[in-house]
Symmetry: C2
Subunit: 519 residues, 2 copies
């Protein structure tokens, strides 16, 4: 994993020289130090034993052998599978037991580096790391001032900027919200441009059509200075149409990315009881079956192309059939499927800060924490929707984004685990301080005070009286002030002017081509 | 563990006969079924390996040998320790390595049953169970209508009633809030009476003085029908005065309870960086040292008396020195100390739904979940403060209580883990439903729908439009309606009239004795 070492070295070098930045860096508190990703010092929590995992793997194999998957409007994909040993009956493709696993284990990387425009922000995906990635795909935005409304490109840019500024967010994400003021066929151009212009963190490409994926690759090539060769600079979201269907749109996008050595997150999106049986072990077996086919496809397109095992599973309200989040069942599924991904030997994506709440209230926080904590303890590598989610993903919230980012910082600290160094054991003060004598003033406490405890950016720990005197604001109202201040202080990262011009030219040219029906 | 089997059998019998109750029971949804405690099917999460735990145990032994503890105003306690092999130098008592552990492992039970007035509600404490217990010790209460104010006996009774009615709360608790309208020397009488009169769940006795503990034992004797003999009917909270001090008040109360075979929770209450060094491993070693002394004391008083290893550790705001909650460090401590308790072989108490927030907002929920989830995943047996906590314990919130109880229900469901029964594996629908065909109408889904997913009592999973049409209430406002409805529907459990009279007589007599200075 020399790539990781490179990323760390780059991190030490810092991203820009100059006295002003250096002085600013020194002023930053410990909590604000930017780390490119979390390195987990904890073993993942195992919810089921090896024998149980083997049962689920066998079930997935049985599903692929007996039922198979339907591959819609993509004869070229069917051809690839048949050549590799599958049997096709029209669109239905069945796989001999073990076939997909074997293809994957021959070439899919267990760990890869996604390069960022700023090399200090390269992320290692896989192994003992966790990468936090913003909300994805919401048509609406929510904030306390304007309530809920359709998202615009301006909102998109704002979320990209807030993600860029958060020391706890490692990635710029993809469709952080849908800029619905831009026509669908043009949208991807503005989104990719925003990620390249307003952030220097890694990002995700468009997947809504093969040619939009190709545009994403081309813009990344320009943004990264013309050389992608063997660098992975995008990780993009390829969803199955559960149950057991892969459609042409997603397979086309996956093909473009895999061909270009860009990463795909192969994700069954499952509302349990609708797109799968209602039980956790059933969801796990079906998810594994769908992912085996999707990742095998990327390896048939280009052996060694990076691919992530994705899982998105929610439970359901028995009253209305609406999806529910932060409930126990998706956590059980997450822990189970994470272990399946480890056994398959590829990175894993799941979790986030998910909620069905419409606002950043107690429901939103309970549910988000109940998804985020399993994300960390389950050893998820790529945590999409790590901040901002509201309303089952229909909206991204500005205040929710700020509150969630704070939790990400806490998770990163938790991942450090127990420090058993001599300083951590603290035997010096324990043996020298007599009973009844407090430790506030000891040399050990003074030495550890700054870094001993995670410093929340949004919590109010003051007395009731002080909190009340300061307006008695709830967490959401405090977060409202924070995001406004952050956007007011935003400074764009460096982007070479020539590159910026080239990107703008590309966007303008493609927009006119697409408007002319030439896509 | 035949006691558990008895408790389960009693649970099946139901607590009252009669057609009306039976019909009501049938109407209850699956979510409302009352289970006396959680049986965890998951292994606890281990944050540190055996070698690491051994280091901490050695450190605790070294502290006890070299520094020892101070035992204040309790020469009889010092005498007991010296007789058992300790060395006293005035109030300072030092212990040979391994002495306390040996005393504890000879007689302290790994598992005990705390009996409830209603045998169906007996709780097993220790082993693979978790018992949820209400908030403890708050002088203030908070609700949305009246804000924050001093607690009264009426509030105390209300919290006891709400705990009684929650299917997710297993215990009536102790000082669920401080009834400050009652003079301190009389308060314990009204509190114990409330637990016996308004609930039939197990409860905690008073610990603020030896004679108040004795009153608690006497009232329990009356409430349980005069026979405590070998039954443990109270579990009470005995706090160390960290660092490394045990005072007479707590030791006196512990002596009364242990003598009567009632259970003590021996708990260091540590604000890290003040009552201990600021590091997690330091807190763990000191906690272990203090607990070893406390539990050994109970075993010297009465070998075999039930005792719980308690741990309460919070981090600190670096700005103000105020305690902070739901941060990563206390979770790391919880997982570490839980493992130490398992190795010692006694039940463990820690965690809860802790927060520094003044109101039931997003901060309260994030922080509470970040304490409650570790409580479950760390295998905590006795979760004090499981519902209601606000403001670092200074207040108990009515809405917070309702919201937290809902989370307890979710935790209980999570503890069931992955169901790998044939029904759980769901291979029948997985092999029979063709790709692309949804599972909503399958026999398997219909058969599992009612119990497949935890049904939250407080979450709103409706569409934005429906939620908005219904008033756009946040979680706290919905909880406000719930607790009012619950209190309006409250029906007291059966209590024999003669017993009630005897209890009232005892309270009246003791009050006049105490008022006359005769306590």
């Amino acid at each position: 994993m020399s790539e990781t070492t490179d990323a760390k070295a780059a991190g030490r070098r810092g991203r820009r020289g100059g006295g002003r930045d250096a002085r600013r860096a020194i002023r930053k508190s410990a909590a604000e130090v930017h780390k490119p990703f979390v390195i987990r010092k904890l073993k993942p929590f195992e919810i089921v034993d090896e024998a149980g995992l083997k049962i689920i793997e066998d079930n997935a194999d049985t599903i692929l052998e007996q039922v198979g998957v339907e591959i819609r409007d993509a004869p070229h994909a069917i051809e690839r599978f048949v050549k590799a040993g599958a049997k096709a009956d029209g669109n239905r493709v069945r796989f001999p037991k073990g076939m997909c696993r074997e293809i994957i284990q021959k070439s899919a990387p267990a760990v890869y580096t996604q390069h960022a425009r700023n090399p200090a922000r390269n992320v290692q995906i896989g192994g003992d790391t966790t990468v936090f990635v913003p909300n994805y795909g919401s048509p609406f935005v929510h904030d306390l001032d304007n309530g809920r409304r359709y998202a615009t490109l301006n909102d998109f840019e704002n979320i990209v900027k807030l993600a860029y500024m958060s020391p706890h967010m490692h990635h710029s994400g993809g469709t952080v919200c849908e800029p619905v003021d831009i026509p669908v066929p043009l949208r991807h151009l503005d989104m990719v441009y925003s990620h390249l212009r307003y952030s220097d963190k890694p990002f995700m490409g468009s997947v809504t059509a093969g040619e939009r994926a190709a545009d994403s690759v081309e813009m990344a090539r320009i943004g990264f200075g013309g050389d992608l060769a063997d660098r992975t600079v995008m990780t993009s979201l390829i969803n199955a149409s559960s149950p057991l269907v892969w459609d042409a749109t997603m397979l086309d996008a996956a093909e473009v990315y895999a061909k270009n050595n860009q990463a795909c997150i192969i994700t069954p999106f499952i509302l349990a009881g609708a797109m799968s049986p209602a039980t956790a072990a059933g969801v796990a077996a079906q998810s594994l079956a769908e992912v085996l086919v999707g990742i095998a496809f990327t390896q048939l397109v280009r052996p060694g192309a990076p691919a992530i095992f994705g899982s998105f599973a929610s439970s359901m309200s028995m009253q209305s059939g609406a999806p529910t989040f932060g409930t126990p069942e998706p956590a059980i599924i997450l822990y189970t499927v994470a272990a399946l991904a480890r056994r398959l030997g590829v990175p894993f994506r799941s979790g986030g800060s998910l909620t069905a709440s419409k606002i950043p209230d107690a429901q939103a926080a309970y549910e988000s924490a109940s998804t985020l904590i399993p994300s960390m303890m389950g050893g998820v590598h790529f945590v999409l929707h790590a901040a901002g989610w509201l309303e089952g993903g229909l909206a991204v919230g500005y205040e929710k984004f700020i509150l969630d980012c704070d939790q990400l910082g806490a998770m990163a600290k938790f991942a450090d685990g127990l420090d058993l160094s001599p300083n951590g054991q603290a035997m010096e003060p324990l043996l020298n301080q007599p009973p009844g004598e407090h430790h506030l003033g000891t040399a050990h406490t003074l030495q550890n005070f700054e870094t001993a405890f995670y410093r929340s950016e949004t919590a109010d720990n003051n007395s009731y009286e002080q909190w009340s005197d300061e307006g008695g604001l709830d967490a959401a109202k405090r977060a409202n002030k924070i995001w406004k201040k952050q956007l007011a202080n935003y400074e764009a990262p460096h982007l070479d002017e020539a590159i910026d011009e080239e990107l703008k030219d590309f966007v303008a040219r493609r927009k006119s081509e697409i408007d002319a029906g030439g896509e």
